[in-house]
Amino acid sequence: METVNSSEPSEKVVDEQDVLVEIKNLKKYFPIKDGLFNREKQFVKAVDDISLQIRKGETFSLVGESGSGKSTLGRTILRLQEPTDGQIFFNGKDITNLKKRDMRKIRHDMQVIYQDPYGSLNPRMKIYDIIAEPFRINKTLSGKALEKRVIELMELVGLDPTRRNRFPHEFSGGQRQRIGIARAIALNPKFILADEAVSALDVSVQAQVLNLLVELQEELDLTYLFIAHGLNVVRHISDRVGVMYLGQLVEVGEVEELYKRPAHPYTSALISTNPTPDPRAKREKVILQGEIPSPSNPPSGCRFHTRCPLAQDICKTKTPELVPISEERSVACHFPLIQG
């Protein structure tokens, strides 16, 4: 990186100490045709050559339409799914090929909160046991100390500890999401993947849970990878945002700047069509034609060219690389909407 031409915009060089998660050329392919008579294997390229850094203490959000590969990327970073190719570093350590047993130790530091507060809690377990489970599995706490910690956690996420002997069905959606959060922070993790963690909640409850996530981040010094399709929520909670389209990152940048001045035509379309609660907002909407193509057979060149209002001939043949256009912004487009 030392020989960068000074006239070229270059990415801000972040001290290795400040990076918590780094992935390099990460790929995750799912085979779709693997039958006896099909000589050619076909793949869904859910994550196709993605590199990014998540800095300590920040909230990095992934946005994009369904089928863009957001959740697969998140799950692959935690090695809940094995990567097809590429490298994953956590806290400076290469965890790409760690054995299961070693991975389990690292998992103390990386936890997940899922979207569905109804499906992600075992209906036959009491709340107390759900929150105590991480300690029991890791044999870190037991008896009185465990009980004290569970009560502490319940209070921390705003649940009434006297209800600890109840079952999940006795709690509302928002409260269940709090249980999921208590379980996720139980072992004092450094990194939390929140996969559509507030998407299923009603707006008044969503605000409560967002407030809780922000509070916990400050108190416990957490780093979030936040996956969501609600752009208002993303703007509120993120420091930086990555925009995904068909398995690739098309733009990465600081959230306010990216919302105000998107560089990729896809980002611009996403943001302009986001419904705002203001009936007088007469915005110029960029309404995209058609829908996201199938990731098993993505378009040639720039994958977005089939829906892009600015597409030229070169876009059909040459895939644009994700390159920095300023310190905090990278974009993969031949004709970005802004220049640095």
């Binding site: 909230t59 339409e65 369904s66 509302s172 959606g173 928002g174 409260q175 009603d202 707006v203 008044s204 409850v205 969503q206 605000a207 409560q208 967002l210 407030n211 922000v214 981040q217 399709h229 752009l231 208002n232 929520v233 703007r235 509120h236 909670i237 993120s238 420091d239 959230v255 306010e256 919302y259 379309a269 996403l270 069509t273 986001n274 419904p275 705002t276 609660p277 203001d278 009936p279 007088r280 907002a281 909407k285 309404i287 995209l288 829908e291 996201i292």
Partner: protein, 331 residues
């Protein structure tokens, strides 16, 4: 202008293990010709029950109309038999649902499903129905219409299926279209396409729309009038500008304030309504919103407020003047 639909003091009960649960309690509102009325509220507020009642699909879900009237062009739908309703549903009033994946029949072609409604309600030949189906597909912005006619639902994407649902709903030129969270399952880019389409269609064929949503952002883009529901009651009704400019019910105000917008600083504490919507089997006394309301007084805890006219809109709150007043002080 005479309203095309007038819902008057509608009460709806559901039967659950022999117990009656009142899901709608004295709901009244009307819809004028060419008007889009948005019903907003959180899960459990009764939005969907309202749409099922108008369509009289309630009976298939263990519900029944306890009292009140649903006047559609002067005729009371609440008194109709299911047999009569069959001539109205899909003809004068149509509905589209949230799930475009499951609302279409997977074993029939798109063409057959489009023609079914036309042939059921209008005296037309098969050829005429076929041509009408092609016309409808074009109307909702689908290309290669002849190919689409022969396809089955699984061959189409979510957004495309929702367009087909809209085409089927429009088949007989309904006077009223009920759209029950039609964009909730769709991505924002596709949502924008569908909202655009509905706004265009409304102008083209001058129909009335009841649009049910939990997303105030969507309501802002499509509504002429907004009805806010909470725990089976209408708590506020007004034009889209009245509701967004000066919400008068504390719940409406709270809902709007809970939405993260660019005005709040990033990661700053969001306003949130404490607690959750009460269960219909365990409703609080007095105003149903009082346990979550910052303006609640003893009167609110004891006596339920009714929907009353205030400055050209309707609100059910004892302390609405304080809600408005507080806003003025802040700004």
């Amino acid at each position: 202008m005479q309203p095309i639909l007038k819902v008057d003091n509608l009460c709806v009960d559901f039967n659950s293990d022999g117990k009656k649960i009142r899901a709608l309690d004295n709901i009244s509102f009307d819809v004028k010709q060419g008007e889009t009325v948005c019903i907003v509220g959180e899960s459990g507020s009764g939005k969907s029950v309202t749409s099922l009642s108008i369509m009289r699909l309630l009976e298939y879900e263990n519900g029944s109309i306890a009292s009140g009237e649903i006047l559609f062009e002067g005729e009371d739908l609440a008194q109709k038999t299911q047999h009569d309703m069959r001539d109205i549903r899909g003809n004068d009033i149509s509905i589209i649902f949230q799930e475009p994946m499951t609302a279409l029949n997977p074993v029939f072609t798109i063409g057959r499903q489009l023609m079914e409604g036309v042939m059921r309600h209008k005296k037309v030949s098969k050829d005429e129905a076929y041509n009408r189906a092609l016309e409808l597909l074009e109307l909702v912005g689908i290309n290669d219409v002849k190919v689409r006619m022969k396809q089955h639902p699984h061959e189409l994407s979510g957004g495309m299926r929702q367009r087909i649902m809209i085409a089927i709903a429009l088949a007989c030129n309904p006077k009223l279209l009920i759209a029950d969270e039609p964009t909730t399952a769709l991505d924002v880019t596709i949502e924008a396409q569908i909202i655009n389409l509905l706004n265009e269609l409304k102008e083209k064929i001058n129909m009335s729309i009841i649009f049910i949503t939990h997303d105030m952002g969507v309501a802002a883009e499509i509504a002429d009038k907004i009805i806010v529901m909470y725990a089976g009651k209408v708590v506020e009704e007004g034009t889209v500008y009245q509701i967004f400019d000066e919400p008068t019910h504390p719940y409406t105000k709270g809902l709007l304030q809970s939405i993260p917008t660019e005005k709040e600083g990033r990661k700053q504490k969001l306003y949130s309504i404490e607690g959750t919507i009460p269960s219909l089997t365990d409703l609080p006394t007095g105003c149903r919103f009082h346990p979550r309301c910052e303006f609640a007084t003893d009167q609110c805890r004891q006596v339920e407020p009714s929907l009353q006219d205030v400055n050209g809109r309707k609100v059910a709150c004892w302390n609405y003047d304080k809600v408005i007043g507080k806003d003025k002080v802040e700004s």
